[in-house]
């Protein structure tokens, strides 16, 4: 089973090179990393997949990123509800990220059903639970718990990531399970979320027939 850490930020964004992060990932029990702006490669038995995050909350930017994607895993930062629905229905988008920073109604039951149909994963940045303190962390935990409730009902995929900028931010699979337990995610659910990426890649690369 593939165990993937989604969206890490190696040097020059962070303070650790991709090779060093791959070594650490191996020690932590991961076999795949989705790294921002890094070419696909393999180091120490860890596959590196290229990922991008589209932060501009416009469909123009999303469509441009999808057209140029190639083998890249495209993640889009979540925005208003209507924007999120449009993003989910855009072929080529694999992940919706940053939902904890949006309003509560930005991801509702309708959006959840769309995400399940289109096999677009919701990215949970577990690093937020480590870096944030106080009110911000409480808000993140609340949002993740709400998303988990929707996920259990509509069964859209989750994707987990440490959001690491350094090898000191990377967490092991066991630690991921413990941290996800903070908002009620069971061990099996966490392991399934860590194995989401191969399914997403198959889904986004499948030919689309236009009649």
């Amino acid at each position: 089973m593939t165990v993937t850490d989604v969206f890490i930020h190696p040097h020059p964004r962070g303070d650790s090179t991709i090779r060093r992060m791959a070594r650490t990932a191996r020690e932590c029990g991961f076999d795949t990393l989705v790294a921002i702006d890094q070419p696909p490669a393999e180091y120490n038995g860890v596959s590196i997949l290229k990922g991008i995050i589209v932060s501009e909350r416009t469909m123009k930017a999303v469509n441009a990123a999808v057209r140029k994607r190639g083998d890249t895993i495209v993640g889009v930062t979540a925005g208003e509800n209507s924007f999120n629905r449009s993003v989910i229905q855009t072929p080529g988008v694999a992940l919706l990220t940053g939902i904890c920073s949006t309003r509560r109604n930005a991801f509702d039951h309708v959006t959840a059903r769309f995400a399940a149909e289109k096999k677009v994963a919701v990215h949970l940045d577990i690093g937020m639970l480590i870096t944030c303190r106080g009110h911000t962390r409480q808000k993140v935990l609340t949002r993740y718990r709400e998303l988990l409730t929707l996920q259990r009902k509509y069964e859209f995929p989750f994707a987990l990531g440490s959001g690491a900028y350094s090898i000191l931010d990377q967490r092991s699979v066991r630690e991921m399970v413990q941290l996800c337990g903070l908002f009620g995610m069971e061990r099996d659910e966490t392991l399934a979320a860590l194995a989401t990426i191969p399914d997403l890649r198959l889904e986004s690369s499948s030919p689309r027939v236009v009649s």
């Binding site: 303070d15 962390r137 413990q178």
Partner: protein, 169 residues
């Protein structure tokens, strides 16, 4: 004062945690403050008092932390949220839990030691530590302070490391 009889004493568990990077300089008191802050921040003061975490000893790159029996999972989770000691970034990884310190000591592995190296990257001097497994921790010092860059031996080419003043790289 007469000590409590064994049957009335609190049952304890001990958690072994690995410190990364292993070169960090901090004493047991510093660790205790960092862990207490992480526990009370995550679970609140009431649960923190229940957990009753305390740093027992530091052995090389490992730390043994005490807690009340039944709360070791919560302590391990809180340990993952420790980010810094003395504002220096750090990662504490819980390795194992046991009822005795002796059992945990058996799980302590020898630390991979490194040699101090100095190299020139893009015309500026960098000092750092080169480990036997090929990892390099480079320390970049400038007016703003110091910053550590974690890389491997293979990365040195892409960093245009032109000269080395020590053996190894």
């Amino acid at each position: 004062m007469k000590p409590l009889p064994p049957t009335l004493r609190e049952n304890r568990r001990y958690v072994l945690a690995r410190i990364r990077p292993s070169t960090i300089v901090a004493d047991e008191r510093d660790w205790h403050i960092a862990i207490s802050e992480a526990v009370s921040s995550l679970y609140g003061d009431i649960t923190a008092a229940e957990i009753h975490a305390g740093t027992i000893r530091q052995e090389g790159a490992y730390l043994i932390i005490r807690c009340k029996r039944g709360w070791e999972d919560k302590l391990s989770t809180a340990l993952t949220t420790v980010r810094a000691v003395h504002q220096t970034p750090v990662h504490l990884q819980a390795i194992s839990t046991s009822g005795t310190i002796k059992a945990l000591k058996k799980k302590i592995r020898p630390v991979i030691t490194g040699d101090e190296v100095t190299c020139v990257i893009n015309g500026s001097d960098h000092s750092g530590i080169y480990y036997a497994d090929g990892n390099i921790d480079l320390i970049r010092r400038d007016m703003k302070g110091q910053e550590v860059v974690f890389l491997t031996k293979d990365d040195m080419e892409s960093f245009h490391a032109t000269t080395t003043k020590s053996d190894g790289i």
